[in-house]
């Protein structure tokens, strides 16, 4: 009985329209911010992708051209509440891909600048490994938000802004 009450309470919290709007804005803004530098410097981002050693080199220029635009469109869709089901699902998939990419690099002992927000090296970063771990944790939080948006979006047809 108590378990059911807690479960219902949690459901109410996760489907709170204000909380969902907050999540959409946070994930949307992060995606848009992350896309801007990559769109302006696709070649630099392609070098970042190379450093992960997880994708065939010949594909990296194409990945670097397309993924940033996907981030931008997903971010805009989340903010404006359009195509929310597809956009939120894509945001969750992208987050999982980013977590796996950084995680595998960390596991294989490859220290790198993730290229998550800026294609150029951030000289203020003193420990690449700590920075990579921090990025993974941030991505896990954003993934959680994306999944909550997705689950709610799947219940409804369209979420108004």
């Amino acid at each position: 009985m108590a378990g059911e009450r807690i479960s219902n309470k949690l459901k109410n919290i996760w489907s709170n329209p204000l909380l969902l709007l907050g999540f959409r804005l946070v994930v949307g803004i992060v995606f848009i911010y992350a896309s801007i530098d990559k769109i302006s410097d696709p070649l630099g981002f392609s070098d970042n992708v190379d450093n992960y050693h997880a994708t065939p080199v010949y594909l990296n220029n194409l990945i670097a051209l397309i993924v940033p635009w996907m981030e931008l469109i997903v971010g805009l869709c989340l903010i404006f509440g359009k195509f929310i089901q597809g956009a939120s699902l894509l945001s969750a998939v992208l987050m999982i891909v980013f977590i796996v990419l950084i995680g595998q690099a960390l596991f294989r002992g490859i220290d790198l600048h993730c290229g998550c927000f800026k294609t150029a090296t951030d000289v203020s970063v003193t420990s690449l490994r700590s920075e990579m771990i921090r990025r993974i944790l941030e991505d896990i939080v954003l993934l959680g938000m994306s999944l909550i948006i997705t689950m709610n979006a799947l219940k409804k047809e369209e979420i108004p802004l």
Binding site: L43, L65, I66, M70, G86, G109
Partner: protein, 168 residues
């Protein structure tokens, strides 16, 4: 379900179109299909006795060397081993007498790069295997910083350590 699939296909298609659109208005043109950077290898003249590790006067680009060649150069002197890894990794263990110029922070090390005699042989290395920092740093030293004897020790620190060569 069908609606979600249509939305995902729509977002992906628009991203592809915009990505290609961006490619065609870029100032700097490059191949859409990237080619893997492969360096030629410099072979030792007499690998058994490790006595001949001379390098050509003029290289057209940085070249790979193996562990024996690298050790031969190390013994002969007039060479600087340059560790391209992160300072944290360098501080733990590195090739004895090597210097650290992490590729990711090389702007911070410009004064150190500028103070090195251009005549000297530079051997870059990193963590071996998939690590490409040593190639990136070698390219920078050769093409941007005007060093003309730049070699890349392909096996990197793990191979050097495995061979039992001197480390700090």
């Amino acid at each position: 379900m069908q609606k979600i699939i249509i939305q995902i296909i729509g977002i992906t298609s628009i991203s592809i179109i915009l990505g290609f659109g961006r490619y065609f208005v870029l100032d700097e043109h490059y191949n859409l299909v990237k080619e893997k950077r492969i360096l030629n290898s410099l072979e030792s003249g007499n690998s058994d006795s490790l006595t001949d590790c001379s390098i050509p006067e003029q290289l057209s680009e940085p070249m790979f060397i193996d562990a024996e060649f690298a050790f031969c150069l190390y013994e002969a002197g007039n060479v600087i081993f340059v560790d391209a890894r992160d300072p944290e990794e360098f501080e733990q263990l590195h090739i004895k007498n090597s210097i650290n110029i992490p590729y990711d922070y090389f702007e911070d090390f410009m004064h150190q790069i500028d103070s090195i005699n251009k005549e000297i042989i530079l051997v870059t290395y990193c963590s071996g295997g998939d690590c490409s920092l040593s190639i990136d740093l070698a390219d920078h030293l050769f093409f941007e910083a005007d060093f003309y004897k730049v070699l890349v020790f392909e096996g990197g620190f793990p191979l050097w350590q495995e061979k039992g060569f001197p480390i700090n």
